[in-house]
């Protein structure tokens, strides 16, 4: 897994001519995007740019009206076990009657398939993931009793348990404090070190060069995609956000 992908290997994610529309309004328009294996990639763009929609289309949660998505050269449906998804924290009801450990265990369900119940082996993996995100002591805590940052860590632990090759994350830094953000970044970098591919919807442009090595600019259309040092510049930021940007590349 540590070796860079040889050129014959298909890219982690290959998106061709993807168009998604709600009623008449296109949310994603003719997206062509290749995400190579082993990158830690940020998706940036203004509100309503279709960042979450792009991730959901890759996962097949949203059906596109045109185009195709391939995961390691095959449709997602055949690669379910290779992809882990960290949804936005607000997408679930945290008053659901369950505890932290149980939510993390849900990450093992995909490997189990229908009907089969998780056992000791799955529990052990869930506990390891909880420890990795620094939440072991909260394992029996009701999930509504966790802070926003802790809930985000639980979601991350749930994705870690899936032990996938590709991690898709929808704003994992939303509403977390600096300590948690640092902890999450470290885990992301660790995952990248071990050869995983990470795609992260991200909002804070200042931290992009520090956290990521790859970036995709998105605003309904795909503006640019590539290594940070080549394309993270004022020009692309201005094209994406539509106003003159001078944050850019100090790093």
């Amino acid at each position: 897994m540590n070796n860079p992908a040889p050129s014959t290997r298909p890219p982690a994610i290959q998106i061709d001519d993807l168009t998604v529309a709600y009623n008449y309004k296109p949310v994603l328009w003719d997206i062509d995007l290749t995400i190579p294996e082993g990158v830690l990639m940020a998706i940036v763009g203004p509100n309503g740019a279709g960042k979450s929609t792009l991730i959901k289309s890759i996962l097949g949660i949203i059906k596109p009206i045109a185009g195709s998505v391939q995961v390691f050269g095959k449709p997602y449906k055949k690669q379910v076990d290779k992809v882990a998804y960290v949804p936005q924290k607000g997408s679930v009801d945290w008053d659901f009657p369950t505890v932290a450990l149980d939510v993390v265990m849900m990450g093992t369900y995909g490997g189990l398939g229908w009907i089969k119940r998780p056992g000791q082996k799955e529990k052990k993996r869930a506990l390891e993931a909880l420890e990795k995100v620094g939440m072991l002591s909260f394992r029996d805590r009701q999930i509504s009793q966790l802070s926003g940052g802790q809930q985000q860590r639980i979601f991350l632990a749930r994705a870690l348990v899936q032990d996938a090759a590709i991690y898709l994350m929808d704003e994992p830094f939303q509403g977390v404090d600096a300590t948690t953000e640092r902890a999450i970044v470290n885990i992301l970098k660790e995952l990248r070190q071990s050869g995983k591919t990470l795609v992260v919807v991200h909002h804070d442009l200042q931290t992009v060069p520090e956290y990521f090595d790859w970036v995709t600019f998105l605003n309904v259309k795909s503006i640019a995609s590539g290594p940070i040092r080549d394309i993270f510049n004022d020009d692309n930021l201005t094209k994406t956000y539509g106003i003159n940007y001078k944050v850019a590349t100090k790093g």
């Binding site: 009623n23 949804p87 009657p97 849900m106 369900y109 009701q142």
Partner: protein, 386 residues
């Protein structure tokens, strides 16, 4: 207790459990009112099924009526998906239409059908034991007992097989979809089970009260537990309790059994709502009061730490200065002294070493906002209460 009485209670209890299981998931999915829609809109299905089979307990009738229930859900979702109306409006549009078709069908054919509107709305549990299952001349018990028993067995089997999948898709449908557990299949599976259950329970408790049996036990259990398994068990327990207590209440008052069962469920919810430990109204009030006292104590200790001059630490001055009423000041002073956090010499208050240490920790929590510090502080406060 006569055999008939036992049979009625048994039927009521099985109906209650069969309703409580899908009810728990409906409540958690914030879809409780879809059960109201289903319970009404199955009526045309039941009437048509009755024309075909002439038997309210026929499996064909139950499947036909349950199908109407599923169609209701599909119609509600189709209307909702247009984006022109919200879900509650869609529900309100679909079920009265279907229900009224059923009412007209009954009224047009009232002479030769053993169905009347009262029974449709409230059910007739008291008559259930009279319609018996006869196999080769021998009596196998009331038909409704077999019907609801079969439905409950199927529901329990499905629950045991797909508990994990139902839990996942209820909590996080997105993840369920990405892991290959189609939320759509689970959704319609749950809707089908709910519809079949409602049809099975319809004869016993009617279209209006079956909703109480589906929602109230789950809503009550939700106030008492943080664990889905326990919530399911508690829902079933509350359902059975309401069935049996309701039966005897009906006996006592000479009233409708279904009505009494629902009344018991309503009272049960109210009592739990008031007295539930943790989420109940009273314990919330109590907790708020205690938290206020704890925060007052913290404010008081910090004040002591901030002010070394004697006049700022005089008992009377404190009262004037921190602007508390006498009762509150005394309670805070008592609490602090009881826990050896302060000493009072000649009406001048001093922090003890323990008080000093605690205040320092509290300060570090306030300034750093560290999660671990919060936990420690909570632990310390817990010592205070003892």
């Amino acid at each position: 207790m006569s055999g008939t009485q036992i049979e009625i209670q048994l039927i009521a209890a099985l109906v209650a459990v069969a309703c409580a299981i899908p009810g728990t998931f409906l409540v958690l999915r914030k879809m409780a009112m879809i059960s109201d829609a289903i319970s009404h809109s199955i009526l045309p299905g039941i009437v048509l099924g009755f024309f075909l089979t002439q038997d309210l307990n026929s499996p064909l009738l139950i499947l036909l009526a349950a199908l109407t229930g599923v169609i209701t859900v599909i119609l509600v979702e189709a209307i909702q998906r247009t984006g022109l109306v919200k879900e509650d409006t869609a529900i309100g549009l679909v079920f009265p239409a279907l229900f009224s078709i059923g009412v007209i069908l009954i009224a047009r054919n009232a002479n030769d059908v053993h169905l009347d509107i009262d029974a449709v709305l409230l059910g007739e549990l008291a008559f259930a034991p009279f319609d018996r299952l006869l196999v080769g001349g021998s009596d196998w018990g009331p038909k409704s007992l077999w019907v609801i028993g079969t439905i409950l067995t199927v529901t329990l089997t499905l629950l045991l097989l797909f508990f994990k999948e139902l839990k996942l898709s209820t909590f996080d449908a997105g993840l369920a979809a990405t892991l290959g557990f189609s939320p759509l299949i689970l959704h319609y599976g749950l809707m089908t089970v709910s519809s079949v259950t409602v049809v099975g329970a319809f004869d016993a408790v009617g279209a209006v009260l079956v909703v109480a049996l589906i929602i109230a036990p789950a809503a009550t259990a939700y106030l008492l537990t943080d664990d889905l398994r326990k919530m399911l068990l508690l829902s079933c327990g509350f359902g059975v309790f309401a069935a049996i207590a309701g039966y005897w209440l009906a006996n006592l008052l000479d009233a409708s059994i279904a009505g009494s069962m629902s009344t018991v469920l309503g009272l049960l919810f109210f009592v739990v709502y008031l007295f539930a430990p943790g989420q109940g109204v009273l314990s919330s009030l109590f907790r708020e009061r205690r938290q206020r006292l704890e925060v007052s104590l913290l404010v008081f200790l910090l004040h002591l730490q901030n002010h070394q001059e004697k006049r700022e630490r005089h008992v009377n001055h404190l009262r004037e200065h921190i602007n508390w009423q006498e009762v509150r000041s005394r309670r805070v002073l008592d609490l602090a002294r009881k826990n050896n956090l302060i000493t009072i010499v000649d009406d001048v208050v001093d922090l003890t070493p323990k008080g000093q240490q605690f205040t320092d920790e509290a300060l570090s929590y306030i300034t750093t906002n560290k999660e671990t510090a919060i936990e420690e502080l909570k632990e310390r406060f817990f010592l205070f209460r003892g």
